[in-house]
Amino acid sequence: MRSYLLGLVNNCDADYVEIRLEERTQTNIQYLGCSVENIGELMIYGGNVRALVNGGWGFVSFNRIDELEAKVEQAIMMARMIGKASGDNFSLASVPVVNDEVIPVLGTDPRKVPLSRKKAVTDEYNQIILGKHPDVRTSTIRYLDQYTTLTFVNSQGTYVKQERSDIGLSLAAIATRGGVTQSGRFSTGGSSGFDVVLGHKQKAEEIVDRAVELLDARPVVGGVYTVICDPDLAGIFAHEAFGHLSEADDMMENPSKMEVMKLGRRFGQDELTIYDSGVVDGVRGYMKYDDEGVPAGRTDLIRNGLLVGRLHSRESAGRMGEKATGNARAIDYRFPPICRMRTTAIEEGHASFEDMIADIKLGVYAVSTYGGQTNGEMFTFTAGEGYMIRDGKVEELVRDVMLTGNVFTTLTNIDMVGNDFRIFDSTGGCGKGEQSSLATSKGSPHIRIQGVVVGGGKDGA
């Protein structure tokens, strides 16, 4: 296979050609209350050819992995059509030629765990959630595991056959009383085998308690607050507030954005360091190579408050005269790789939780997350729940906590970074354009941010 594929892309009449083939088995288990909404194994099978001619890209994707020679020709023809019409030329950043086969080291290989066992595990969590409290009338459980074999070759001689394991579990307890519905949630995931989804019965109990407590909680009163984000939410913050802004394909031909994102610009206080890494072992965002066959490493985005790096594909790095960072990723064979995150994290600082809270007169402690969104400059993220902070103490639980901010001011307003770093995974992931959702991980310690806009629900709603 290796020499056949390399032969197809060798000596083509193009500046660059690559072939990516994908074979994936995926197991899904989904519960809604006591009903199994989805259970079973799928096969995802397909491939693509991407070609570059005079700065124009042609891309052909398919499910039938046959007549590859003709598909290579077709991609080159399309690239030539674009290259001719666009008159724009650039060089891909040069990267080492790689020849490698990667097989992950797994604890318990999810492929060897029978479907009945996977169901029994999720069923046990579901029984706990549905059996613990009369107000919790339903649940949602999502279990996902997938094993992917990606074969990549390019016309520069790189051959990478990479196998990846990916697993995630999300539990939600949904409580309803008197027309009010609230939920408690727990998620986990990883890339090193089945064991990561085991041993969470305690969590299943806790999310029931959380959902029931939230029924009695009042919506947070909207306003501008000092906010402490727990590591889970702070990780989403790093992802939404800065990760997306660092994706270089959105700035490579945009002089005004390059000006805004000039290396060396101050974005935060000295203690703030944000990085993105492909090589955090065991997490969902782990990979040895990205989808252009570029070795994945750690890229610092902000170091000690200053902008020092960004997330590159070979094209964006080439256009900007910087180094490729191994951030070119595609959700599957249907799409070309674009600049994406892997594990995005705020590096551990020195503050204890007590240090952070001590001098807050009125604030919000925002905990866990439903997810977030950004448009580059502004971002939002929604907490699972929050607690009011009064006179340096964590007080009553509040619900409907959504935080919003402007990246240029909010990052500067992070005035304390905690000493309790953690990494989080879930069954969810990141979306960009139509490529959703991609396995990404996030990490952070607690952080404190001054002057955050918190939107709240209305009483009696």
């Binding site: 989805n38 399309m78 009945s116 945009n254 971002f379």
Partner: protein
């Protein structure tokens, strides 16, 4: 292929259904003001649902040579699957709708390239510093369903769309605007999208000061789609059957204002959501969902209908093109009746308040609670009935149930398709602008 899968499945199962999807798409993309790429994607995916010993199993494969493995997987799933409380549908009479427009296939790559150039040029003519991205995409696909109860139906549909976005950066001021339109015919209104993006780039350049408070707010069709999402979730059969939906047991009760009438209408010629049947082979028909503020029909697939002891409403939908889950209930093509308001007059009628066009994060939170919380990604401050500039770093919060119960000030007669591709919901919605009183706004 689908008959081969059905035959193999019926050797081992009591009932079986094969859903096949085959399509070919050509997107032409402009990035950063210039032509970037042409793609050609061929898709071929098969989903199998089986009933064996009273239990249902499901699997999907995009391996065209993987029929046997697909059947093995579905049978293995049936061993641990839920009891099947329903039967697959028999053949039916399907509405005759025109979904395939040869004009879409006839559009050439050169024409898409030319259309992209003129869009980019037109936008840059009003905002020379803007960075414009757009994607024209044409496609044709075929959906085919066969089952062991004798149902065998297929349709071919054309698909043409445009997604356009522009970014304007001045100092640390980022303005990002977008619009989209998807159709089954070739009549995508490129002019309208170009004009919308251009005018937002002009109006959005100036920021205006605004203070936190409670104001009248005009929600454009795109912003309205986040309120409508809450109603659709409440009508969706699984949540109704599980009694999580606050509207379970509330059919025919007055929950919203009499001004609110919402349909599911998969028969509008040219619309993206037109189809003769749902993805389970049940005929797709126009129906009232909310009639003058009263929910009158839930949105049901076969499973939720059987749980409720009702009939499927023809709303069993699969998520194309990966087909990773069995059908789920979903509206097909949503329309809300317009009112009598003229949009410009409605803006004048605001006095002091906002126009909100794009929201961020407003899909999040507990949808059944009706709470809509979102960052105002694109919105305008209205003073003395005139738009004076863009509002930034602000959040809106309202409850979708009370907002369209007692806070409606006016509904426009003009309506616009909010594209499912832009909202990320699975359906397109034809919606009016709605002026809502007493909306809470929090400014940073």
């Amino acid at each position: 292929m689908e008959h081969e899968i059905l035959k193999l499945a019926m050797e081992r199962c009591d009932q079986a259904e094969v859903f096949a999807y085959r399509g070919e798409f050509v997107p032409v993309a402009f990035r950063n003001n210039r032509l970037d790429s042409i793609q050609r994607s061929s898709r071929e995916v098969y989903s199998l649902r089986v009933f064996k010993d009273g239990r249902s199993g499901f699997s999907t494969s995009s391996d065209p040579g993987g029929a046997r493995k697909l059947v093995d997987n579905a049978v293995a799933a049936a061993v641990v699957g839920d009891e099947a409380g329903f039967s697959l549908p028999e053949s039916a009479v399907y509405p005759e709708v025109v979904m395939y427009h040869p004009g879409v296939e006839a559009i050439t790559e050169d024409e898409m390239i030319a259309a992209g150039h003129s869009l980019v040029d037109a936008v840059r003519a009003v905002a020379p510093a803007a960075n414009v991205d757009c994607e024209f995409r044409k496609g044709v696909y075929e959906v085919s369903i066969v089952n062991s109860c004798g149902l065998e139906h297929s349709y071919k549909k054309s698909d043409y769309g445009l997604l356009a976005a522009a970014e304007l950066i001045e100092g640390d001021n980022l303005l990002y605007v977008y619009d989209a339109n998807n159709r089954s015919d070739e009549r995508v209104d490129v002019r309208k999208i170009t004009d919308k993006i251009s005018s937002d780039l002009v109006m959005g350049r100036t920021n205006a000061k605004f203070a936190s408070g409670v104001y009248p707010v005009l929600f454009t069709p795109d912003a309205m789609s986040y309120l409508i999402l809450r109603y659709m979730v409440c009508l969706e059969g699984r949540g109704v059957a599980k009694k999580i939906s606050p509207w379970a047991g509330k059919l025919d009760e007055q929950v919203l204002s009499e001004l609110v009438t919402i349909w599911d209408d998969p028969g509008i010629v040219g619309s993206a959501g037109i189809q003769p049947m749902d993805d389970e082979g049940v005929p797709a028909v126009k129906k009232l969902l909310i009639e003058r503020g009263r929910p009158v029909s839930f949105v049901l697939d076969l499973v939720s209908a059987s749980e409720l002891g009702m009939e499927s409403t023809g709303n069993g939908m699969r998520s194309l093109p990966l087909l990773a889950s069995p059908p789920q209930p979903s509206v097909l093509s949503l329309t809300m009746d317009g009112g009598t308001g003229n949009v410009e007059d409605m803006v004048r009628g605001i006095g002091r308040g906002l126009v909100i066009d794009q929201l961020m994060g407003a899909w999040a939170g507990n949808l059944y609670s009706g709470e809509v919380l979102g960052n105002i990604a694109l919105g305008y401050v209205v003073e003395g009935g005139e738009i004076v500039g863009r509002i930034k770093n602000a959040m809106v919060s309202l409850n979708a149930f009370s907002a369209l119960a007692g806070q409606i000030m006016d509904i426009s007669n003009e309506r616009k398709w909010a594209s499912g591709r832009a909202t990320g919901f699975g359906w397109d919605s034809l919606l009016p602008h709605v002026l809502i009183d007493r909306v809470s706004v929090e400014c940073g």
